[in-house]
């Protein structure tokens, strides 16, 4: 297979790209790992409210060294701070925010995304794996928009965007947009619509790296 010459986005660049689509005033939950990086790229002229499942709204950047508080952590168990106007609440209210449709956007990592928006990100289904799910299923069904952030393929080059999940599902028909190191894809009723590709990427090559039919919706 011949490749055109393109440069994949770094993890930080994926986060930076996704951050551009977070509107002013949005209530946003950032999943553990890559999605968390979005916080670093939110522009200063916007007020975005970060929610953490363990009972924080409007938390801020990590504390200065030496000022860490073991009772002020986010869902990833990282130290955070609170912004003026932030609030604490219990797990019941926190998941009411998620399940009840009050979170505008959540950004999640993925093992696989299917063409219909099914998401797999909690279990590889491996026999000996210890399962763990946390709040992923709540975010998948509850957030108004679900953004997925992922490398376009696995380390071994297998597509992560597929016609049908082979990994156990986290949430059905829940993904709205996919940010990969190669492109941005909207999950639409008509299928997976590619709206942006990295410089040098051709639609044909992108399709070859993808396990489901794509629609070219780039301008």
């Amino acid at each position: 297979m011949s490749h055109t010459s393109y440069t994949a986005l770094t993890r930080d660049q994926i986060a930076e790209r996704a951050a551009q689509d977070i509107p002013d005033g949005a209530y946003v939950n950032l999943g553990i790992g890559l999605p968390t990086k979005i916080a670093q790229y939110l522009p200063d002229d916007k007020e975005v409210f970060l929610h953490s499942e363990n009972g924080l709204l409007a938390f801020g950047p990590p504390p200065a060294k030496g000022e860490e508080d073991p009772e002020l952590i986010n869902a990833g168990k990282e130290y955070v701070t609170m912004l003026d106007g932030g609030s604490f609440f219990h797990h019941g209210d926190s998941f009411a925010m998620m399940r009840g449709g009050h979170i505008d956007i959540c950004a999640l990592g993925a093992f696989q995304v299917a063409a219909n928006g099914d998401l797999a990100n909690w279990s590889t289904g491996a026999e000996d794996a210890i399962p763990a799910v946390g709040g992923a299923m709540d975010l998948a069904v509850g957030a108004k928009k679900v953004f997925v952030m992922t490398n376009h393929t696995t380390k071994t080059g297998d597509p992560k965007i597929v016609s049908k999940l082979t990994y156990p599902v986290t949430g059905k028909n829940c993904v709205d947009r996919i940010y990969t190191d190669l492109c941005v894809i909207d999950v639409t009723d008509k299928g997976l619509a590619v709206t942006e590709m990295v410089d040098g990427m051709s639609f044909t090559d992108l399709q070859a790296l993808t396990g489901a039919p794509l629609i070219n919706a780039t301008k």
């Binding site: 409210f49 106007g85 509850g142």
Partner: protein, 238 residues
């Protein structure tokens, strides 16, 4: 900058259209958003569905709204009171529909809406007229009635203090339905006695986080000055 503090009750209520479903906070007059209700009356919208614990007292507030004929249906737990004559007359004349809900079912159906649940099995009302025709189930030795969420397009509530992000704290027994209604409505409009600067409300003490509140209007405390049209709400300075 996100600023949910609104200057004019008239402006903020203008998004409410005929046929809207509206939760109104309060238990009796405690926590009743009197100025927002007056604004709703002035707005002149019709065919409303109102959710409140009661069905109005005397001739003002919710009772006055009912009297204008704007309300098609009321969902409440305790309409009959010594001074509920406006509702009583409309009800006897068949001019208003009543869905009578035990108070705790009213609360937990509102909570179910806010929490995104599809339905709940509640023990309250089992075997009574208020559960007639409803699905029931015997679970773990006890009988339950299946009840569905009560959602609303708007919640009009009264809080004590708010900030420009919509965070709210309440005062004493005026808290009642405010926090759970704020969670169950698409658009929550809170009238407050004071809009404070961001950060003035202690994050440990905030009862309703701003995520549940879309608009906050400061109501000028009653004064001896003659009231002009806009004088019931003042600009937020936060």
């Amino acid at each position: 900058m996100i600023n949910k503090a609104e200057k004019s009750i008239t402006d903020v209520l203008s998004q409410i259209k005929d046929g809207a479903t509206i939760m109104i906070g309060g238990f009796g007059t405690a926590g009743q958003p009197a100025e927002l209700i007056d604004g709703l009356i002035n707005l002149g919208v019709k065919d409303l569905v109102i959710i409140n614990n009661n069905a109005g007292n005397g001739d003002h507030g919710l009772a006055k709204l009912l009297k204008t004929g704007a309300v098609r249906k009321i969902i409440c737990s305790f309409p009959r009171q010594s001074d509920s004559w406006v509702f009583d007359e409309l009800y006897r004349a068949g001019k208003i529909e009543l869905e009578l809900v035990p108070q705790g079912n009213l609360a937990c159906r509102i909570q179910a809406a806010g929490m995104g649940l599809g339905a709940v099995y509640t023990p309250t009302g089992f075997g009574t007229l208020l559960a007639e025709g409803k699905e029931t189930r015997h679970i773990d030795g006890k009988d339950y009635v299946l009840e569905y969420p009560i959602k609303a397009d708007f919640a009009l509530i009264k809080a004590s203090k708010g900030d420009r992000w919509g965070n709210l704290v309440y005062r004493k027994s005026a808290r009642n339905f405010g926090p759970i209604m704020a969670m169950a409505a698409d658009v929550t409009i809170a009238q407050v006695s004071e809009i404070v600067d961001l950060g003035e409300l202690d994050p440990e003490h905030i009862v309703t986080p701003g995520i549940f509140v879309q608009h906050v209007v400061q109501i000028q405390p009653a004064s001896t000055e003659p009231a002009s049209d806009e004088s019931t709400s003042t600009a937020a300075t936060a």
